[in-house]
Symmetry: C3
Subunit: 418 residues, 3 copies
């Protein structure tokens, strides 16, 4: 006998408003359900986005640290719902579809018997890592007639920023240059880099929306150690501004306290006491914390209209005076995404050592760890659609529309006559 | 590689009587299956009961100890398949549908930022605890235009017997008075109370049937410590008697030993040796153990026709000379129920201390613990319907019919013109 | 918040070759999928085999060690998807369908209240172990009118080789003699026996195919301790030969090294260094390891054409000079099989003690343990069909056809007029 503790199960829509037991009908149920969720509830207005739970095709995705893929040690990853094996040998780094066509055993469980190849552990089917072609079958001898008649799919793969990037296109599609997808401010300059990679629950869209979401940070994260001693606004007035492929949130008003009718003022005094106050004259830096610190010259030179921006296929950029934080929300499967969090600093010499110390001693723990865990918690709890959006969610709807435009543009490009 | 030990899976109906491999047809399979389960097998004769896996609507249900719902600590419960958050503040105790309409995050994960409200942890949507109305959105400022346009459902909630009770009706239904649902013998008197609340496997119906079931107790529980030194009948002749909303099992014959043709006598001597024998003259008390002890005057005054009775919406009452035991089988979800076991004693003064000592030192462990665990085990193993009932199951069929009558009466009342 | 590590999920066919997001159609998807899996992919050519995931009917299956079924201790097993209780009493060993018809509780959770019967723990329904007939209902008294009107199915059960065997036929089918199904070389002789029984993942067909598979052993197991110091061929030329109900793999060529064009020679020197070399003159024993040892006279007398053979309903025989190893792949449920591994040696006197010492000290650990675990690993990873077979898989296709023939023959026998 197992007794369950009172852990709540996910709610079930159909139980929201049951009819008297004898007269319940599915149609009635549906109407009642709609009545309980007024307003725009579905993602039907963004059909490509709605269908993109496994990610958008036609992009490079970071999937692993380069240093974690060693020769002789094939690594299995999942990207956009596909299982892929990464193999390093004398000819470079390769990505192949991770399924031996013989009996379906993952090649990632195999070994590299000959340089330039990977062998399935079951019967020694040996595939050329560059082409995916079946080059030898150890247990069928040198004259095995099946050689050359079978192959596994390969994926374009490159390395940059100490990351392995895989291009997910459609059959026969030529990949775009990887550099085109790297944030512009990182090209042609040197910088310091720290980061974390984790597979987390929730599809990439919910976590990307969490990242770009105008409303949540100042409330959800208000007591995270990363923000505990800084002020954050109670609410902002925000407009959205697109520059090239980046969509910026631009805050035209920031309100550091507010008086809510019928309830009282917020934040409570006890929560504000230990925080650094925003400067009295309203001067502040690119960040959203009332901190008037001047940004690094390279960051200042970018002239960003806002401190948070997002771009396809799910990349967030958050600009601070001293560094830039990136989050890549990489599609894993229908229920998970791969979180790739990077912190980049443009200092050099002694100051670059300071950054590294700060990253390892503090940022990695408080920001890429605890702060990001609050986001992961909310993404896991989110159960949308249905949803009921509010004023700051213009950040989400504009982002969704930008995805929609990009998907339409790509479809038109790949199917010019359609 | 994982190797499973030989844990038996639940049987699968379609494998009962397989045809030769090539000639199996679904229809044939169905016929063979029926042939193997003769007699009444389904609950089709009780359609409202058959559909009530998530409970009957129109009743108050106990869901938590009052003392476990503290101000500032929202509690999530599940009742009849719905997730509900209990919130206590200066205005009292409240029950709201536990889903923020914005993005589906449970309000029970939030905080009470202002008295009289609960705020979603994600974006600070703040709902009035009395009305469920969205009263403020912290991250959208005091002039948020969405305030007052959105609300979450609320549920009638009251406290009695140190329990929180929630009324599950249908939309707009006025709750019945909670007191009408409290067992009559507990109104207007003082008493001592002990109890246990647990979420257990099996829907509320199977566990309620287990409780009222005429046949199982004397066999299943015969060696439970709670009964180890008392005699229980081998079999009874039973009739059912309804008084008001209570259905009683009335034992017209009790047989303490029996001789089974072809098998022998039962119980075996080794099992009876240490038990208190029933009194030679047949005198016995309200209980079913051959104990001739006179009942407490308040219990005697009730003049119960039998020692076990049941009432809608799934409440069991078992009467002993010294105390009355209640079990509320509260619908949780399709696979679980909440067991609320109470023990009530009507003594006062020093004797009430004795009861408390007895409850905490003995009853809670042997009865509300071990004895109840045998029932929970059987409920978990039960796999019915299909079922094949026997003579003592008149207790179950009469109970199901009583549920059916109550559901019909309520439907007629709510839909007078239908 | 739960963070998942990067454990790869099983691939999902529908993601193999996604179309541009807007123009995906199920039919297109299917075509692309087929294009990726060329050649014979399904088991449609063997329809009886394809449908036999829960095993073939009309056979005896070993399910437990005799010594593990003691009087008074009913044992639950699952066979061909059916739950069965084994009961031993003064009348012998019995097998009954493990479900009380009353409320579905497994009889295996019950007790043996009277010799010759088993009683359900819930209400004491007592079934005759020989006939399955309901003989008494303890909680309904000696005159219970349901007695004799209800019964549970029984199964033919016998004991041989210290194993319990259950016959799985169809309703009313007379079992074949168990001895007919015991390997011929074990009849009428004395021998020493050691073995292991385990429930493992994967249906019985995948694990039987793994066992008889010509190709895998010399590659997959090359570094198992069981083979670590013996040579195994790189590849063989094999033909299949059926003798009676046994299908033999006959190796007409053995190649101990090979040179693969474009890749090099195999096995690598480092892997071969410590192995016993095959005899220079090609002399070798029945085994596949280049060992020229002469077989035991009883084994030699069988004049087996090959060292590995298989028979219905999933029995593997591997012949070594000193002993014979058997694997029975017993259908459990759709995702599991019961592995029954036996090792038989025909020595007597002091040499039989030597065998027992060798089995317990070495064979049971290295062969029935570690070596078999490599097979279990591959069976668990196998994801077929779809599949793409190669030359050595003639062993599998011939075996499947033999199953097909046996199923057709049996269907014709049971349905002579059809």
């Amino acid at each position: 006998m197992t007794v369950h503790t009172d852990v709540p199960a996910r709610e079930r829509g159909q139980t929201d408003a049951p009819a008297p037991e004898r007269v319940s009908h599915a149609g009635e149920e549906e109407k009642r359900r709609k009545a309980r969720y007024p307003g725009r509830q579905t993602w039907a207005a963004w059909p490509a986005y709605d269908a993109a739970g496994l990610g958008f095709r036609g992009y490079w995705y970071p999937v692993a640290w380069s240093s974690n893929v060693a020769a002789g040690r094939p690594v299995r990853i999942t990207l956009c719902g596909e299982n892929i094996v990464l193999v390093r040998d004398s000819k470079g780094l390769h990505a192949l579809y991770d399924r031996c066509p013989h009996r379906g055993v993952p090649l990632s469980t195999g070994t590299q018997e000959f340089d330039g190849s990977i062998s399935c552990p079951y019967h020694g089917w040996t595939f050329d890592t560059s082409t995916g072609r079946l080059g030898a079958v150890i247990t069928d001898g040198p004259d095995s007639p099946i050689c050359g008649k079978v192959s596994v799919a390969t994926y374009p793969v490159e390395e940059l920023l100490n990351l392995v990037w895989v291009y997910m296109g459609v059959d026969g599609e030529e990949p775009t240059p990887l550099l085109d997808q790297i944030p512009e401010e990182l090209r042609g300059v040197s910088f310091n880099l720290g980061g974390r990679i984790k597979v987390r629950r929730g599809d990439w869209r919910l976590t990307c929306e969490n990242g770009f979401d105008e409303g949540h940070a100042k409330f959800l994260h208000r007591n995270a150690m990363w923000r505990r001693f800084k002020s954050m606004p109670v609410w902002n007035v925000t407009k959205l501004e697109q520059r090239g492929r980046w969509l910026f949130r631009v805050q035209t008003e920031q309100h550091w306290t507010a008086e809510f009718p019928g309830y009282g003022s917020w934040p409570p005094e006890r929560e504000s006491r230990w925080r650094i106050k925003p400067s009295a004259d309203g001067t502040q830096s690119i960040s959203n914390t009332g901190n008037p610190k001047a940004p690094h010259p390279h960051i200042a030179a970018q002239d960003y209209p806002g401190f948070v921006s997002v771009s396809m296929p799910g990349v967030l950029r958050v600009v601070y005076p001293d560094f830039i934080h990136y989050e890549f929300y990489v599609p894993y499967d229908a229920d998970h995404h791969r979180y790739v969090g990077l912190m980049v600093n443009f200092d050099s010499g002694f100051r670059s050592l300071l950054f590294k110390a700060k990253y390892l001693g503090f940022v990695r723990w408080f920001f890429h760890g605890l702060f990001a865990a609050q986001d992961a918690w909310m993404v896991d709890e989110t159960d949308a659609p249905p949803e009921r959006l509010y004023r700051p969610d213009v950040s989400l709807t504009t982002w969704r529309s930008m995805c929609e435009d990009a998907a339409e543009e790509r479809t038109a490009r790949l199917n010019p006559t359609a």
